[in-house]
Symmetry: C2
Subunit: 330 residues, 2 copies
Amino acid sequence: MKKYQVVGIGNAMVDVLAKVEDDFLDDNGIEKGIMTLIDTARATELYGKMGPAREISGGSAANTIAGLAALGSRTAYVGKVKDDQLGAIFAHDLRAQGADYDTPLAPASHTAETGRCMVLVSPDHERSMNTYLGVTEFLSPDDIDESQMADAEWLYLEGYRFDGPDSHAAFAKAIAACKGAGGKISVTLSDPFCVNRHRDAFRTLIHDHIDLLFCNEHELKALYETDDLSIAFSLARKDVPMLACTVGANGAYAYVDGTDYHDPATASKVMDVTGAGDLFAAGYLHGMVNGRNPISCLRMGNLAAGEIISHIGARPEADLKALFGAHGLV
Amino acid sequence: MKKYQVVGIGNAMVDVLAKVEDDFLDDNGIEKGIMTLIDTARATELYGKMGPAREISGGSAANTIAGLAALGSRTAYVGKVKDDQLGAIFAHDLRAQGADYDTPLAPASHTAETGRCMVLVSPDHERSMNTYLGVTEFLSPDDIDESQMADAEWLYLEGYRFDGPDSHAAFAKAIAACKGAGGKISVTLSDPFCVNRHRDAFRTLIHDHIDLLFCNEHELKALYETDDLSIAFSLARKDVPMLACTVGANGAYAYVDGTDYHDPATASKVMDVTGAGDLFAAGYLHGMVNGRNPISCLRMGNLAAGEIISHIGARPEADLKALFGAHGLV
């Protein structure tokens, strides 16, 4: 048995969440529903304008790993924070959830700070993310512990990490070490604009290395440059043996070994959609690495996503194990 | 018209909130429902043991001022944070709510950090607070701007501030400047253990300077060293012309100019009682400085407290103005 069932690699950051009216998004040129990278000056400007907020650890793959840890899977996370107060908060929240986290800290002398994401939640519960990457941008191959990668049944790679200068090299090192020891690789497309920025790199990675692709319908359409989801599915089948794709209120689709599966979304109260995709991946992966069939995996993904959108923030609040148990899934 | 209706002086801090089981409190020697001062070593130990948390600006008087600002009263706050990430979060959240906040920052070279309070919320929704004061302990008379104090109709003094080394001198300077310009002074007892630590100082302050005393039943009993609330009320009448006292699920009592008033608590969902007293004071003060009768003031206090206990954290989430309007109180 390998030490880890899933090791995630992603951009480590703390979310700064606030409610806003739609006018705020319009007045500040913020596109609703997507993730926009911002620099320090823009971060300062936006923060100065936005209302009172709360801070909750975030980071897409970190949210997934936190969900997996909450469910009892054996997990670790790789992502860079600084030796500062927000970095300490991020590390605490992940370890306290039960995940291993040992990525070297960027020193206090680093000019950038721990990354943060200003998450603006509008009245329709959609979130618009403005990300200051800070030190997490600088994760490099030196931060990848090959023995840890070899000790993982699955890697889970966050698409947002394609934005860092050494990210491709770091991913390549991690993939080689994991695959070399018989592990498998999953990736999430993260965001349609991220796909547009790095389409060729995503296509090559997926074709050459990926065993399981996570995405939503918008990201998959962006990847294959089509408006037709069925065409995107067909093209994906040629690239990757397994896919799990969320389709908003319609739940999620998967194909595994040539067979299609669908699970409708469980109706749930929606407060803030931040982290829905991250926790879908957590539920799906938890099922998969614990030997459940694809329909159960989809069900777990939808249930975990339903929990996360029922409250503010992208880390689980309810007891996910108990939730799965109540649905006969434990 | 004075620039400010209420200026608050308190311990500035960020709350670190997490759910815990009762066993956690027992195992770690934490007394439920009260505020315990802790040092850096204990803070590190407790934080290492507690589960994932979220950070929301707190500080008792700061919560009251945030509530007043949210309601549209003209407010300012005085309390010390450091030039660090948590200090920036605290300052942002207060200013973004509409309060003025100009206390000089402790420099980055200060050995202590911005204060924080580990708020452990148990299954019965009670909160147990473990406070690392950090730099907020060192608020001194130099931090009190006499012209600002003179510009306040009311001061609102936080009892917890009696724990700082220069706190009494800072309070004295603020009181003299405010009263000298015709302003009035209110104080909150904050916590029964805080009252026990500083009973003589509280009694002297109240007798000599206070126009309006905020407290809950436990604090008032501690102040007058009696188990009988009616005796405590009788003793208070000799010390202070106005009192507003919360009595948990029974709502709140007030006496004003020799007349007694009572308003029962509005039934509300309870998630976390952190900040209930702070927001009661916000609602009561908002009514008072805007010329409402004592029953309306009590009603506003109870409604604002009801909002704050319906969610995690001690800063308002709902639109308090709209809430008051829905109850015919605007």
